[in-house]
Symmetry: C2
Subunit: 389 residues, 2 copies
Amino acid sequence: MSLVAVPQSLMFPGPLALQSGHAISDYSLAYETYGELNAARDNAVLVCHALNASHHVAGVYEGQPRSEGWWDNMIGPGKPVDTRRFFVIGVNNLGSCFGSTGPMHVNPATGRMYGADFPVVTVEDWVNAQAVLLDALGIDSLAAVMGGSLGGMQALSWTLQYPERVRHAVVVASAPSLTAQNIAFNEVARRAIVTDPDFNGGHFYEHGVVPKRGLRIARMIGHITYQSDDLMNEKFGRALRDAVEGATAGSSESAADFRYSTQEVEFQIESYLRYNGDKFSEYFDANTYLLITRALDYFDPARAHGGSLKAALARARAQFLLVSFTTDWRFAPARSREIVKALLDNRRSVSYAEIDAPHGHDAFLLDDVRYMSVVRSYFERIAAEESLP
Amino acid sequence: MSLVAVPQSLMFPGPLALQSGHAISDYSLAYETYGELNAARDNAVLVCHALNASHHVAGVYEGQPRSEGWWDNMIGPGKPVDTRRFFVIGVNNLGSCFGSTGPMHVNPATGRMYGADFPVVTVEDWVNAQAVLLDALGIDSLAAVMGGSLGGMQALSWTLQYPERVRHAVVVASAPSLTAQNIAFNEVARRAIVTDPDFNGGHFYEHGVVPKRGLRIARMIGHITYQSDDLMNEKFGRALRDAVEGATAGSSESAADFRYSTQEVEFQIESYLRYNGDKFSEYFDANTYLLITRALDYFDPARAHGGSLKAALARARAQFLLVSFTTDWRFAPARSREIVKALLDNRRSVSYAEIDAPHGHDAFLLDDVRYMSVVRSYFERIAAEESLP
């Protein structure tokens, strides 16, 4: 049984106050819902997205069989988050390039596209905007909020900003803040974009160009950090480029020998990175990339509590499921364990699963029997506790 | 007692046959020597350099007290490689931008600068050129060849290409080949350089420009992979930029709050990366960067032996010291252990030290008491075995 997704959108007059001190008015939020809100309006699950994703979480669009949502393996009828039982909401964040108000939209105050003038948004700002959307949908309290990576940071922040509105939080492959190395990778990607001559200070739309060189580099760096070293060795190793020029990756024999070139592709890993970089640069907005990586950098709930994560999480009232993956070196299991420890120190109810998976950070998007069954069991427990049918 | 270094250079008519099938003629090699070659001409130690280094291994230049060689902590009178006993030779590799013939030199065949037309060089080619230099210096056999990282690959290759000319090989923080992830990072750096509009297909010299944007990105990526995550957290953590604009890094208090900007520096790690990227782009040649990273990619002695490192290393006759560092994630200890195992499988004499050091790959250049004492002991053993005074 496949789910048909219907994108929706709501306009809000605002103003929505932002952490930076600025505010945003007349903004729209794109969202999708799956399943039905029950009469008690208490079976809602909010799904928060990471860097390169959107409100299109599950299902396919009418007549587009290959348009599966980014967490379609996780959410749908009979899936770990079962939409026959839960009313699932996917929302696109402010500053994104996939539907909600972002840098490619017109700033009502100036009549020009926002571009680089789009206000800096934080995880906390996104959560506030999501709360406004829930208000509009008549949802006071969430059965659960969930997300992976940056989405997990939003789920965690929900429990601190609106403790009374969240009963469960599912935080997957996430972290309580970025490390210096995480920030460093973000910064290299941003510099690649900002120093691309086609960036034009972030107002490239008016010049009819796109800083594709920078976006390609950003995406290539991303791909390296999303995967484990072991998986890359297994998938690509030192295999040479395809023997037949222009063949689909992996479809043909690899070449027998080097061509001795610094600029042409020699290894399959190079084709893979170039291909994914090119594809990304065709659809992702450069200003959005800057905004979203900055939101990652800024997130640090312990900061306002003198660096104490325990003190920061004292406000949380939800029950928690945390999941991490052994080969994730971007957001390593140790980072999830920091959250687990801080919650336990506050005597919160926490389940924690450290999944032995080879896929690195990307694992949170992939099918893994143990991972899926952990999430399934957790949502069955929620349904049982809350007597959902 | 401080060593005064004197750069020297020798011209060779060639042609030197290269692995690519091309050849190079009329090339020069820049080198330095420290200590004295003994009458038996058997106390020579060749030091091979890594990506961003040169023949200037030890000592300082006359009147330039801050011009220490890149391994000055390791090599000199009374140092682990004691120049009162050994005659140490540092040589700059072909394709470099620090003195030996490279892309910034004139191609005698065309009368134009080589630029992107400089032939692709490999670790094996470099070793062959170094052997020609040793011939010119009248040195048949090396007491030792040594190097770290890419320099370690050259030391290893010496034992395979000229087994009868090497009595000891010291291979530090190295690997028998790059992993897919290693190649991936090199490829991102190369794409950043090649797609910089100022690269001009590698003939930027003629246009009076330098692809600095690409070089900056390349260097920033390099810096991240040279350091351990833990060290970066310790040195920079999430500390905000210096409170006083333009202050020397680390010299002042850090700022108290975010400025909420995607393009300005917020965190100290960002200043550090930008500063080092800028500095590097002022002096390093873009074509050299492409050539040297490619030489890294290509190195894989097992390749000609069906992937068997054991078979590849069967030719080696030298005794070996291998050193790795626990937090080096670029060339992890496991990669050194692969070499150790293949040598032991061939019943070669191998000493191996895995140094518990926090500095990541950079550790091979830094002072670490245990590391220095391991190398010192090894060279004392060489001196004793060979009855050097």
